[in-house]
Chain length 514, copies 2
């Protein structure tokens, strides 16, 4: 069974309903919004094994990974619910009146309010955590916005089950059904209709550059442009600094063989570029990484389309002049059960050969890399390119040449960091998350996480899609001037009934306003 | 003497210099940035009467107003400098490592860092506060961004004096000259070259819809789109609710005669639309407002171009079917000294007739208004249109029909507010600042101020151009993962050497991290 595309007339009706629901939902207290988010988490858990089984069928992802990812999705809903009701994100600011100032200073109080209906496009590689009830949906609901999710066609059934769970949660709390809407669409028409609808006030997206940029352009060409937060991935450069490489080449190779192949390389934080300075140690690192990669049994990719795109992009990269293959993992016989990059068993029933993602490492000189834009593009999958620089200056040139990145990593001793200030600054300036002596894969869900970065990593470097600060993507400030205490929203009343942190006459406090 | 347009080759050179200066200035501490801002304030003051005289010559604005505006500009620089070094805007978030979590949780610490060179377009109506050393410049410098200001051609000499003052301040602090750059341009070419330059990373603008929207489009059509904060004005609707109008029609009329004509109506918060329900009290209000407007001597507008545009737009509005003139102030004989709307004397030497802005009030039914888009456009100047609604439902229709606004005002008793929840919600949803029983003109500079609003009031409703929160327009988060304490920026070190407020493991605190 597959789902028909939602008709454009139906989308118009859904958006009108979402607009009406907005006027109900935006007035719900922070506690009521948090209650909805927690209820969704409960329903997700209640979906039980059936949801995991469906996701395994649709995505080729192994059971353990999917169970973990559902756990993470539930954690996100609960963590952002807590942040929602704690209310710091609302940025309550109170300046009390000074009547005898010339001219008199009025009483002004500011807080964030929701933008309106938010359209969310889920990611193919995270059927739970970045999809239907994922981070964007959680953030928008926390902000007070109804959500319209377009199911990713690669896991439409999984998405439908999650959508039903959300509707169950909303119904139990007597919220309007249209606080959440689920639509299907295999072509671009449904997405375009959603983004260009007059009642859509913001867009969240996780996926490819081409997809995200198209949504961004549609949104900005509207009569009323709307914000789009599109997370479009990156190549996540890793810089191997000389002193660190000298002491730890083999150790780093082992660490990165795991990171490159984790989840069959299907993470937006996958390290696609490793930059070092020509030396015996770089040769050792390259050799050891190649050996390790060859030993890793290839995993099954999300679907044959992604596997095909990976194979083609990789082939194109390897065909470029002066690019040399270091190592490639071997295809597994189809009669054996599939094993993914994390080593856990997958009993996926899909054709295996066609979806295998063979881990691959290649190498090129910095000169070759700098002069060939093909090599600077993301190859989504378990692939990484080792760049050989002649010296520190050439490494700096590579750093300065890079486009915006979600992450960048330094493998460096303290001495390396202190002696390469220009490099460190250039790398820092290009990325949203800056990692020292670790791997970029693995995105911790916490307030200090920044999952974002300069364009083209995202369409707005000022916001994150992971962590409770992501709520602010979907809210805007409003200042109340000269309102009497009884008419102000709870968040701004003198007595601080919600007990939230507020900036009162420039001091952060939970105190009442006297 | 007039200034030649800066050449495109020169702009390219300036932007390259600004990019180099960015790499120096971004590393300056919060205290050093604050010191620059305060030094600029000192130099602005030191410009003395010469600056005021030049501004009077160029803008037709009266001396008292210009002295006040310079004072406000100095206040902004000092206030945002204090906010800059207090560091709350930097949103420091620290989550410490939990090594025994599965998988281990790394140490992650996040803060805002500057975007890069910011291009600022000053406003014609605020030669100081929203121009060369105005709010956008102050916010960008606080964020750590070099600034490139395009002088408004209507006050290019004033702008040049202020630019020289900024350069003096930067030189005294041994900062690179290119931390601030001043260019001239009368056509669109200079602006386009600035916005589309690869080293420009954000844009601030205050002015017309056409100007701001053009910059926004150029910025989004770049290979690397950049954020534009354009404040494009609005018609600032005022809703007269029945009970309040019954008790205070004459009082409100007097209050609004002052607000409509303040500064010859040349404020982006000028109340251009007043909405009431047909009644004897609305007739009294209309009559009294008309009488008051007639008595107010017209002021001189900023320049003949603005006065001409005002006269034309007003004439177009008045020519629409079913629009009736209520009152217009009388032109003053050119032989008498000019008096502006605030009542202060102006000894401006410019031709007087051609720049006079005659205060005008007109009226139309809600039906006429709703069916005629011409009436929904801003008429920049001392003009307001009174909309007569048949009943509460029609008033709600008007509220729902309005585009995004910088401000909206209710003249209402508490009972009015409580009995018109739908109206209050609809008005709130359309504006950035929501005023009760006062006037929208006058924008207090404080943290709780929001000067912004849904499109087309601005191009991004999530940010403000007044108050220290405006700094965040020009900064983005970066997360440091797994960095040792000695290598972290001061803002994120365990010992909190700057003594700033930070969120440590979800608690706001100034404490050290143990």
């Amino acid at each position: 069974m597959s789902f028909d595309d939602t008709s454009l007339a139906q989308i118009d009706q859904y958006m009108n309903d979402a607009w009406d629901a907005f006027h109900v939902y935006r007035k719900k207290s922070l506690k009521e919004r948090a209650a909805l988010m927690r209820a969704i988490a409960v329903e997700l858990e209640a979906c039980g094994d059936a949801l995991i089984q469906t996701a395994m069928q649709e995505t080729n992802l192994p059971e353990a990974r999917l169970r973990n990812e559902r756990g993470r999705t539930i954690l996100q809903l609960n963590q952002y619910a807590t942040a929602c009701e704690q209310g710091e994100w609302i940025e309550a600011r109170i300046d009390t009146a000074i009547p005898d100032k010339a001219p008199p200073k009025p009483d002004i109080r500011k807080m964030l309010v929701p933008l309106g209906p938010v359209v969310v496009f889920g990611a193919s590689n995270f059927p739970f955590a970045y999809s239907t009830a994922g981070g964007d949906t959680a953030c928008a609901l926390a902000a007070g916005c109804p959500v319209i999710v377009k199911a990713h066609p690669a896991h439409a059934h999984t998405s439908q089950i999650v959508a039903d769970a959300i509707h169950t949660a909303a119904a139990k709390l007597n919220l309007p059904q249209a606080v959440f809407t689920h639509v299907h669409g295999k072509g671009f028409e449904v997405g375009k209709a959603l983004v260009t609808h007059t009642h859509t006030k913001a867009v969240g997206f996780t996926g490819s550059y081409n997809g995200g940029k198209q949504l961004f352009d549609w949104a900005n060409q509207r009569k009323e442009p709307i914000p789009v937060f599109a997370e479009m991935g990156s190549i996540n450069p890793v810089f191997l600094l000389p002193e660190k490489l000298k002491s730890s080449a083999t150790e780093i190779a082992t660490m990165y063989a795991g990171s490159i192949t984790l989840g069959v390389g299907q993470f937006c934080t996958n390290p696609g570029l490793i930059i070092g300075i020509e030396s015996e140690e770089l040769k050792t690192f390259t050799h050891d990484l190649g050996k390790a990669i060859q030993k890793i049994q290839p995993g099954v990719m999300l679907h044959t389309g992604i596997a095909k795109a990976y194979a083609e992009k990789k082939e194109t990269a390897l065909m470029q002049e002066e690019v040399h293959l270091v190592a490639e993992s071997e295809m597994v016989n189809t009669s054996t059960p599939a094993v993914d990059g994390t080593g856990s068993l997958s009993d996926n029933p899909k054709p295996f050969d066609s979806a295998q993602g063979l881990a691959t490492v290649a190498t090129a000189s910095a000169e070759t890399f700098l002069n060939n834009p093909v090599l600077q593009q993301e190859v989504f999958g378990p692939y990484s390119l080792i760049i050989r620089c002649k010296n520190k200056e050439e490494m700096l040139s590579v750093a300065k040449h890079l486009e915006g990145q979600l992450t960048a990593t330094l493998m460096a001793t303290n001495e390396d960091v202190l002696q390469n200030e220009d490099l460190v600054e250039a790398v820092k300036n290009s990325c949203g998350r800056f990692i020292l002596n670790s791997v970029p894969t693995g995105v911790e869900v916490c307030l200090s996480m920044h999952h974002g970065g300069p364009f083209p990593a995202t369409t707005d470097s000022r916001f994150t899609s992971v962590g409770a600060d992501g709520i602010k993507r979907f809210a805007r400030p409003i200042a109340f001037q000269n309102w009497s205490n009884e008419l102000l929203p709870e968040e701004l009343k003198n007595e601080n009934p919600l007990g939230i942190m507020r900036t009162v006459n420039n001091d952060l406090t939970k105190n009442v306003v006297l």
